[in-house]
Symmetry: D2
Subunit: 295 residues, 4 copies
């Protein structure tokens, strides 16, 4: 149970009226469970965790646990307050999480110094019954990761690793070089998955693994096998799709791509907007190209 | 009941263990109620709303309503999701809010287009039993206010105004020029309170009004009286204090300054850190200077 | 001879082939000389100084000196190197500059600490035969002005003031409060000219004064006369024009507006592009509105 | 003659009084010429080109040409104006440049659209007697590279490639995938040299190659040989040195490191400041570590 490999940050399908669509979520789990994925992330950024209430969150964790017996279940539990994060962490563990992924609090950005973040993560890890993974995603939090923080937190017995989603490969290299080998760093930015592996990332927690698990897993395998030429080709085939379902269209694009891939993306929850109709025509060939590269 | 005048965004005192200190909150309300303030904001950024759970939030609203009969009570109800914001808005109105202040959702920054924000605010206003004020604070959200959005939303019968906290006076001028006179814009950035009034702001929702209500109110009165020289002097006396309790030390500094002013700042809630001990010696003369300017 | 009042940063007309059009420049000088302007800036950002060679620069200074006898002639002499700036400063003074305006060097941004900038400006001031004004324009340099630098440099006998073009009114207030009264700060951002005056700016060095000198001067006079209502109205009438000739279209827009105003804007020099044809139709009513507000 | 391999962006030594120290420059050339470098860049950012006048620039080109017969000599000729860049390009070619490296103009940042940059580069390439390489370094210009611009310019017969110094590996991957194989992209950011090669960079134009040519060349060779483990180790050994001579201390740090390496770094030219004395003690072990990794 680790970040070594490919982990999809599961999307959360909603109905047209914004209600949670647990049936579609479970259908997606059954479909994705057939793949050789290293684990599953529930309640990540792509899961619209910021728009879910606690009851919904725990229902998603429970469903995931029930449908994914024996699989590595990582659960996003970051809240703005330390006490809120600790409380949700305990509830997620009770609901079956194998480990939690804790986002940097970011509302009071100018105050989120390395010291404030260190104390926050340590308090959460102290309270957590399960391993804790750190999570940095500056595109959403507006907060760069402070140099040295991962190394400081790696000393905590329950801090097990990190998801780094900025896509800054120099940072990824520095992170990996600064922590013990037991501290795993996952890449959370699909357009740099291959170079992240080159500089020492353990694996990837990648939105694109929801809609294109095969080529994403194939990239990781090619890298492990030392087949850099194939890994680079798979990266080039994945990048346009990955950019479309994150930078260009965001979660709404990811959900469309899941529909195209035979899963159930469902609606996004407001304030997110549905992707424009033209997105479907744009995504279809990108998805095909990614899948063909893996065959 | 309007934004015309000075409104303190009430701080939320916590005990050393992080528990809500409602007794101190109520003591502060009684103290501040003696001043000629245009109203009171509960659950704003300075109230650490991001770190409170719903039960705590509603307790603060109920206490404020009880202790401030007949006074304008504005309540922050912004959540990341539209449905969550609408739900909290209704509960806040039930608990006694005269109006709500709705922060821009900001987690999915790249997706928060003017269109997404417009639909969000309209849905919240549709659902709200009370007037809705828009709230933009890019220092915390990382989201600039889209030009034209205030004018578009001013057409909604329940959108009554806006709190603009970026401190961008060109934006303040453009906002005021773009909306009908009935749509009030409050300045949420104390170091530019006086110039904001010059270009048409109705008033100010200012952290510094918690610890130095007299000079803040005096500035507004001097402006209304056409005494620009005095308004400018009061601004110069307030600015260093305002910078200290926001940019330099944040909410922790504000709470120290409240202690100095005879109120009960209390502790901050983690992940915020207490201000360093030296802050007290820095804040004392700044507070004195601000108060002397008003005498 | 001071920054007290309105100073146009003169545009530099070019021919279609990119050659300097000194004849048009001189025609503009004669036209603008009829207005009650506090002075004239040659070789500023709006003068495309970055695209001129030294010979062209000195020809523009000499022409300005010849056609503006007895008027305050301010000349932009900032280069990336200290020695280059000092050398050009001396040549500009020899060619008739009454004072120089020295832009922050900015190529090595991460190295341009307050200390590096202070030593740069002091060395230039030591070498200058004429008063030196500091110049900060972060939109072009990417360099924020370090707090405290103006106060430190104000101690130099030949540093006379500053042009602050960020439009940050809190910064303007802090600057004015930090320097002796003899150190004048000019606003270089037309949409905040009136509030800048309110917080203590001495005057404005404003692109819009090239194409709409009357309303710009009228705003300053209304402020001096204590007629804040009129100053605010003039500001509201000037802002859309000012935004169009800076933020929207840049120098190319300014030149079109000068053509509309009966001056000779001429072409821009590549890599700047001509404004689109539609800009003319957009600028005409903005110019008319600004001029009508002054009548 | 190409970017395939390692190219040092030569530092420009100055005397204590700021005068050009051509003797030291030539001594460095002789020393570096002994290494298996793919070429040499004169007048790059690390060469303090922004602080040199034209006469100095051409003297450096002429000296380089004389001392580096038969070697690939790349010369930085970017100026703010298109005509200035074209003129310097021709003079550099006359003085012996094999190719030129043209920096994005950046003063009028908001106007430097993809279209403006495309026309600028095309005009320079039209005027150039030698191959033109594009150069993007957002840390200094504040200008991100527009997607699609390299592909558009690759169609010009004299545009041969690009130096990409942002360190954004996703961008590097996209660039390489968007241009024909004949268009070479060099990495200009040493901490990501190895991952840049992985995603398709042809080579590196790297400051660290001035003071540590052996490990930099060794990294490239290890990559060419398919020895990814060694390449990654060399990267990890080079990164701290590279960060110190760029991000931490800049050109002044690079010059100290050159002194340590037996070259003649010389002084920086003002407004750059000398590195603090402690930098020497910090750089020595970093340089040793980098060199040991190559042995």
């Amino acid at each position: 149970m680790s970040l070594r490999g490919v982990i999809p940050p599961l999307a959360t399908p909603f109905r047209a009226d914004g209600a949670l669509d647990l049936v579609s979520f479970e259908a997606n789990l059954e479909s994705l469970a057939a793949h050789d994925l290293a684990g599953f992330l529930v309640l990540g950024s792509n899961g619209e965790a910021a728009s879910l209430d606690e009851e919904e969150k725990l229902a998603l964790v429970a469903a995931s646990r029930r449908l994914l017996p024996g699989r590595f279940l990582l659960v996003g539990t970051g809240m703005e307050s330390t006490r809120g994060t600790a409380a949700l962490t305990r509830k997620a563990a009770d609901a079956g999480a194998d480990a939690v992924l804790v986002l940097t609090p970011s509302y009071y950005k100018p105050r989120m110094t390395a010291e404030a973040l260190r104390l926050h993560f340590e308090a959460v890890a102290d309270a957590s019954p399960v391993p804790v993974y750190l999570y940095s995603v500056p595109a959403f939090t507006g907060l760069p990761w402070p140099p040295g923080l991962a190394a400081a937190l790696a000393a905590h017995p329950r801090v097990a690793g990190m998801k780094e989603s900025s896509g800054d490969i120099a940072l990824m290299g520095r992170l990996v070089a600064s922590v013990p080998a037991s501290f795993q760093v996952a890449c959370g930015n699909a357009p740099v998955f291959y170079p992240a592996l080159c500089v020492g990332a353990a694996g990837g927690v990648l939105a694109v693994a929801n809609c294109a698990p095969r080529p994403t897993i194939a990239l990781h395998r090619a890298f492990l096998a030392g087949d850099h030429a194939r890994a680079r080709l798979l990266q080039q085939a994945l990048t346009p799709l990955a950019a479309a379902v994150t930078a260009n269209y965001g979660v709404a694009g990811l959900k469309l791509a899941m529909d195209l891939a035979g899963l159930r993306g469902g609606h996004v929850r407001s304030p997110l907007l549905a992707a424009p109709p033209a997105a479907l025509d744009e995504l279809r060939p990108l998805l095909e190209r990614a899948n063909q590269a893996a065959s």
